[in-house]
Symmetry: C2
Subunit: 228 residues, 2 copies
DNA sequence: TGCCACATGTGAGCGATGCATACATAGCGG
DNA sequence: CCGCTATGTATGCATCGCTCACATGTGGCA
């Protein structure tokens, strides 16, 4: 096993980018076997390195998950920063949609971000900072809506809370259905009540968001003109 | 260690109600150290029995968690069944509140019920049945509201989806804040964005629920008369 | 009352895991 | 060419989930 040649099989003694590989493989493993069954040794095996190599990049199993969550917050913040603020109501709507869409397309990371696997954020500065960034963007969009009068002139923090709860809830149910939908036939999905409830939401998420938003905007009739 | 006498220390050779003890101890352990760190051996140690004794009551670690979730669905269904259906709108409101309150007072079970720890319900008949029972009650309450005209005359399933999403989201954020609030001083809590967003919701959950519900009921002005 | 089947708890043990420690190797700047 | 540092290796320990064979109460039935 002489690994002194660099180009033979793509990896020499040094893996190349073990950190990135671990993050990706980790995501795939969680998707297929859940957070519980995740093992650093298995990840190392799959990457073709020794069982303890991952500890050069992550202090612990927990730290690896935290890094994944951090990545998630950064991606979510970026997607929320991408919406234009020209029309405050449209921005509000786009923000909510991009949140739900991110959750739907990155269910594993989303669960790490908002679930209870990483119980305590303290001690993970990068994670905390990334999460704050998301919240700041939401707050900014809502503030613009309040300033323009498009959103109800209520307390900003309370508005943030209700909006987050609404979007977070829809995202959660959307994820649930997706997760099981890929693994099982539809008949089996309908055996799980939360998923049945979600079916309606997932099939027309924009419509559902619109309906719930009507209670939050100053002129609900304007919503009809947004996104069909 | 002669355990032939029954009344000496409360446990003889047979524990008494090991199953119940395990369920309770398990809940406490998850609350303090999360689902990840949970160990059947530790639970057995704490109950004063041999490391393999728990396997007489639960097929696996997973089965223990599923049993806990089942208990949760049964309790939640009971609390939702306790609300009167006389006034459909009031029933709708009470149902939502009792859902959020259950989540807030039993965060561990709630997470097991709706999180991704128990990935697949199939194979857990009791769990599936209990979950269905909850959904059936929600559906019933909404149907009454539709029949009376108090809720918007929309598709029942879609209504279930949006309501569930709304309530589920608020419950989730309420839990998050609570969980960390007990463990850390308030200044630290505010370091975690989702929790900050939640503060507004938690401080006046009924008001927040009311506001979001306005988009779902036929005559929003009637809501003002419900619960102060 | 006496006895036996069965539910419940015990004990040893296997393979795997997280993680700490000490060591080896590769690549890069001086 | 030397040596420093980042990265991966080797070894080892305590613990865990789970299996299997065995021990011990308990309640039902004659």
């Amino acid at each position: 096993m002489n690994a002194s040649q660099h180009g033979d099989d793509g990896r020499s003694y040094h893996h190349g980018d073990l950190r990135k590989t671990l993050l990706e493989t980790c995501c795939a493993h969680i998707a297929s076997q859940g957070t519980e069954g995740l093992s650093l040794r298995a990840l190392a095996r799959e990457a073709g390195v020794s069982p303890t190599a991952p500890y050069r990049h992550f202090d612990s199993r927990h730290a690896l998950l935290a890094a994944l969550a951090t990545e998630g917050f950064e991606e979510l913040a970026a997607s929320m920063r991408a919406v234009a603020l020209d029309d405050p109501l449209q921005a509000f709507f786009d923000c909510a949609l991009s949140y739900i869409r991110y959750a739907a397309s990155h269910p594993v990371k989303y669960h790490l971000m908002f679930g209870d696997v990483i119980g305590d954020f303290s001690g993970h500065e990068e994670l905390t900072a990334a999460a704050w960034d998301c919240y700041a963007r939401l707050e900014q969009v809502l503030q613009v809506g309040l300033d323009s009068g498009d959103l109800r002139p209520d307390n900003l923090e309370e508005l943030c809370g209700t909006v987050w709860a609404l979007v977070h809830g829809m995202a959660g149910l959307t994820i649930s259905a997706q997760a099981k939908a890929t693994a099982k036939p539809i008949e089996d999905i309908m055996q799980v009540p939360p998923l049945r409830a979600q079916q309606a939401v997932a099939s027309a998420p924009e419509g559902a968001v619109l309906r719930l938003m009507e209670g939050l905007v100053a002129d609900p009739s304007r919503l009809k003109g947004i996104r069909q």
